[in-house]
């Protein structure tokens, strides 16, 4: 809201510099977004002059040679002038030699195209008074010749653009902010004089207007209408226009301007009807009929719904209540009798209407935040005063007041002890009381409490709808006391013996692991385009993860995986010519399972082919690199990836390459891991060069943080181990893990209780020459050890033979000799 300092001065005397006022407004709790200064600066040697003659310059088509009378300031001067907008007899500002105009422009006696010029006639812009208005500033009202120009020009103004918080609709007005400033500087507040020229005693009754009918009292708790007859519509006085312009409003005519002026003064919106345009002479506050139409003052036709509150006459809606008037009933030059509406509309009703029509106004803005019903009549009377003052006329009957004054009796009891307890530092009780009183919070009673405390019963004025509880008064006291005076202190740290959330711990561990393995952590957006999910995940997921109200099309769905974002990152870097190989991310993803969505904590990484060349080649990463890192990530969540079978990714999954990727999941999907090669077609579709390996691990957050059982030490043998190798010929589709399982089983059975099989591990996979088609060889290394003695070759060989026999008997595998 724009606040004019000149205007504020009407209510409170402030001689502080602008910086000090800005600071005050800021620390009262209203952010000052901008301060602008208008009006002419102090000007020396610029006086009022009158053009006596105007002749064409002999040597220039566009210049004139004038004689100008500046009266006692120097008599008649000859001045060359290039402007065109003036005539002989006009009074204009004249800058005499020696004057310094804004921009350090010094006026000198000079010759212009051979013609002497003894000064300069000035435009508004040249005097530093804003924009060029097409020529000289013509001074109205025949000011005395030779008068210093600052005495004639309107004084400058300072305009504060202030952000008013939603709890303080009372400050959407000059009086409201003046009240705050009067409290801050402890200066008296002077309310506008109420003359109420509209005394109705003995006044005639209008023939054009006969009253108001409120059909929707819940949406309109108070409606008042004053009738003023015999008004003459015309421009409002200069001082009022100037005020309105200063705060960014365009003057229209005296009636409309008074309405705006009083709104900006009191915060109470008003509306003036031309009485003769009210069909049937009666105003009806009702809901619109579904589909009813009105053309609002902004020249747009609006279609109303049955929830829109309107002010109507017997035929048609005239005003969208609290929002904007209609073109059909406004005041114009022919208006002689006006009906002045000053009403209270329910905030939610106005908000709904404003939203549904996409139409906001100074009026709706105030109603949405709350207008004080107790100020309404005062504001109406003030407006009537100003209308009679500026447009003439007299108040006639009937005065319509429908709806009651909303009852207001609010007292808050607060003690000085409570205030100090909440503040944490001492403030003298008299200073607390003074702060409250400065804000017009009246102390109804004061009682001593306890040792040194005071209890106040505070009466809250009706415009402070935001004050309800003792704590609210603590804020008021602190505001006026000054938040800059809060004393410094040390932090009192008392541990709460709680732990960091398990999810935070998991993320920290997993990302630290990956960063320690040369991954760059990335942060990508949660919202993804729906098409991507339809194409690469599933239609079900796309349906379940959709937002009801996306803002932009390509951010319409929750992400079901972090990999998509990481691929975006790869692409971005690729397109910028930045080599990117290893990326990771930790964040929330959303998965659909059995008709429900689940929010999962996910950690993912990608490994792209390293496009940069190195002086020494390294073994490239492969599926088993990914498996290794993902197992570590899962372990950070307390999950053993080997604990569940790895299955090829099938069904709803996200773009993985068949045969080169797998998924592992808990039986109830409470954690899911997928890893391997990203689908190559998808990479191509996205324009990513080369192949990309990826791994993702996702767990429902509620599963994290289950404390693992304390580990117990297992003793180990200090005797030497015995090593044997065993090679098997198996089908090429056989999985090493399963074969290894069979070998381990056979080994354990063969060794029996004699000694232990410490480990069985694949160390070679071979396919090709020397083996039949469709077969491969898997070689295992077996480690035997006894807890109590050194094993002999014979006994170990014996067991190896037994193992081979057992494998040949119980499996389809052949021993490779």
């Amino acid at each position: 809201m724009k606040i004019s300092l000149n205007w504020i001065w009407n209510y409170v005397a402030l001689d502080e510099p602008v910086e000090e006022l800005t600071r005050a407004i800021t620390f009262l709790g209203f952010e000052v977004e901008h301060v602008s200064v208008t009006g002419a600066p102090a000007l020396e040697k610029v006086v009022v002059g009158q053009v006596l003659t105007r002749d064409k310059h002999p040597n220039a088509d566009k210049l004139s040679v004038c004689t100008v009378d500046i009266g006692p300031a120097g008599g008649v001067k000859t001045i060359v002038c290039g402007a065109q907008n003036y005539k002989v007899g006009d009074r204009v500002p004249v800058a005499l030699p020696g004057a310094v105009l804004p921009g350090d422009f010094t006026i000198k006696q000079s010759k212009i195209r051979g013609q002497l010029s003894d000064g300069m006639m000035c435009s508004a812009k040249e005097l530093g008074m804003g924009a060029d208005q097409g020529g000289l500033l013509i001074l109205e009202g025949q000011p005395q010749l030779g008068t210093p120009i600052n005495e004639v020009l309107p004084p400058g103004d300072t305009v504060f653009d202030v952000e008013i918080t939603p709890n303080r609709p009372d400050c959407l007005s000059h009086l409201g902010l003046a009240r705050e400033l009067s409290a801050w500087f402890r200066r008296g507040l002077c309310y506008p004089p109420e003359k109420f020229l509209g005394d109705l005693t003995g006044a005639p009754t209008s023939t054009l207007f006969n009253g108001v009918q409120v059909d929707q009292p819940s949406d309109c708790p108070l409606y008042t209408a004053h009738v003023v007859a015999g008004v003459k519509v015309g421009p409002s006085p200069a001082w009022m226009q100037e005020r309105l312009r200063a705060v960014g409003l365009r003057p229209i005519n005296n009636i409309v301007d008074v309405g705006n002026y009083v709104m900006l003064e009191y915060g109470q919106p008003l509306h003036a009807f031309d009485a003769k345009k009210i069909a049937g002479g009666r105003l009806v506050v009702r809901h619109a009929f579904e589909g009813e139409k009105i053309t609002t003052l902004d020249n747009k036709e609006r279609t109303l719904s049955s929830k829109t509150l309107v002010i109507a006459d017997s035929e048609k809606p005239l005003v969208v209540a609290g929002v904007m008037g209609g073109l059909n009933s406004g005041v114009d030059e022919t208006t002689t009798t006006i009906v002045l509406e000053c009403a209270i509309f329910k905030a939610s009703s106005v908000r709904w209407t404003s939203r549904s029509l996409g139409l906001s106004s100074d009026s709706s803005y105030r109603y949405e935040r709350g207008v004080d019903p107790h100020t309404a009549l005062e504001a109406a009377r003030r407006a009537v005063d100003l209308i009679i003052e500026t447009a003439g006329g007299t108040v006639v009957g009937p005065l319509a007041i429908v709806g009651g004054d909303v009852p207001w009796e609010r007292e808050i009891t607060v003690t000085s002890t409570f205030v100090e307890e909440r503040l944490g530092f001492p403030v003298p009780a008299p200073e607390m009381r003074a702060s409250l009183e400065a804000l017009e919070l009246r102390i109804a009673r004061e009682n001593p409490v306890g040792q040194a405390g005071v209890e106040w019963v505070v009466s809250v004025p009706s415009w402070r709808n935001d004050l309800d509880r003792p704590i609210d008064l603590v804020e008021e006291i602190l505001r006026i006391y000054g938040t800059e005076r809060i004393p410094a202190a040390r932090v009192e740290a008392i541990g709460t013996s709680a732990e960091d959330d398990p999810l935070v711990v998991f993320n920290r561990r997993a990302v630290s692991y990956l960063v320690g393995h040369d991954f760059h952590e990335c942060v990508n957006l949660t919202l993804r385009p729906g098409a991507e999910i339809t194409t690469w995940v599933s239609n079900t997921a796309a349906a379940e993860l959709a937002l009801a109200n996306p803002f932009v099309e390509d951010q319409s769905h929750l992400r079901p995986t972090l990999v998509m974002g990481l691929l975006d990152t790869l692409l971005l870097n690729q397109s910028r010519g930045v080599a990117a190989g290893r990326l990771c991310e930790a964040g929330r993803i959303f998965v659909e399972y059995n008709g429900h969505n689940y929010e999962g904590a996910s950690v993912a990484f990608v490994i792209a082919e390293d496009p940069s060349r190195h002086w020494r080649r390294r073994e490239p990463s492969d599926f088993y690199t990914v498996k290794h890192h993902l197992a570590a990530v899962a372990a950070a969540a307390g999950v053993d990836l080997e604990g569940e079978p790895a299955e090829p990714v099938s069904g709803p999954g996200f773009g993985w390459q068949e045969g080169h990727s797998v998924g592992v999941a808990a039986k109830d999907n409470s954690w899911i891991a997928r890893f391997g090669l990203v689908n190559l077609a998808m990479l191509r579709a996205r324009g990513i060069e080369g192949s990309v390996l990826a791994g993702t691990f996702t767990i429902r957050p509620e599963l994290l943080g289950q404390a693992a059982a304390r580990r117990r030490f297992r003793d180990f043998s200090l005797f030497p181990s015995a090593l044997r190798d065993l090679a098997l010929v198996v089908d090429s589709s056989a999985r090493a893990g399963e074969v290894e399982g069979s070998v381990a089983e056979a080994a354990a059975a063969a060794a029996g209780s004699q000694f232990s099989v410490e480990s069985v591990k694949v160390f070679d996979v071979y396919q090709g020459k020397g083996l039949p088609e469709g077969k491969k060889s898997l070689a295992f290394s077996l480690v035997f050890r006894s807890p109590s003695r050194t094993l002999t070759d014979d006994e170990v060989n014996g067991v190896l033979v037994a193992i081979q026999e057992r494998i040949e008997k119980t499996t389809a595998y052949q021993i490779r000799k």
């Binding site: 800021t26 939603p166 509880r469 704590i471 937002l547």
Partner: protein, 352 residues
Amino acid sequence: MEMQEQLSSLLSKASAELQPIRTRPELESLKARYVGPNGEFTALMKQMGSVAKELRPAMGKLINESKAKLQALLDERLRFVEEAELAAKLGPAIDPTLPSPDPGPGTFHPLTLVREEVCRVLRKVGFVVADGPEVETEFYCFDALNTPPEHPARDPQDTFYFPPAARFGNVSRHTPGERYLLRTHTSSVQVRTMLKGQPPIRIVSPGRVYRRDTSDASHSANFHQVECLYVDKNVTVRDLKALLDYLFEALMGPGTKTRFRPHYFGYTEPSFEVDLSAKHLPKVNKEWIEIGGCGIVDPEVFKSVGYDPEVWSGYAFGMGIERLAMTLYGIDDIRVFYQNDLRLLRQFTGSI
């Protein structure tokens, strides 16, 4: 004495033959030629049988001495061969200025670094890190935080909602049929934490939040916040100011100042905006920069989580992690955080 000469000449010959030997196989074959079963030295030893009995002790001694000498020669050459082999294996001396062909080092995202730093600073004064879902319900995001039903923050113009049919299996609703939404602040974590336990509570909740807003240099559809909540007996405005003075001095160094400007938030009373003066940081060209919001927890919030506001009091503070990171690092476009250009990421090789 023939034997003696033979031994002596054999040693000289062996010594000479050993000189050019460079590899283990050469050495092995030479060794075989002398001391193998058919070796020359072996053959000489076999002649011992034909030596006269009285000469045998002297001859035996001589042979043993020669054998030791020959062995010494062989050993010496073996060491030489071994060294040569090692040198061949090691290759030429390394050039320490060549770059490592391995990738790395990895980096934490700058937002992670800032988040963890804030958490670390706060952990020192007793805060623990709390977390909660990003999909929330109206109760946790608005109702419990004393946000009036008509508040614009709830408007679908400003907040992302899910269709009424959406079900989230692991995001609990406070009342059946509540609408799901994407949380607009991490204050919902405060509500969930308070509902789970009793005071005292001292948590810091970092996390991702969502606003339905145009993306530009200073706005993003999702961004990150970090909030603190302290609930105990007799928590004061002064305590709150002390915490923020401590936090920002720890983050930005000595000489950092904060100031409170009264403001309005539904969930705190009194409420303040927090300004920061840290002119020693690059790109901070204003005396005061707005960094966050805070206040004393509104009694209504306590009521909605079942705490007695007569007994408990508390403070809350929140700020944007991006904004803090931009201030700390001198970044002026929020979008760089989500683009993950490696030229940005590589600048932040820190640890958490």
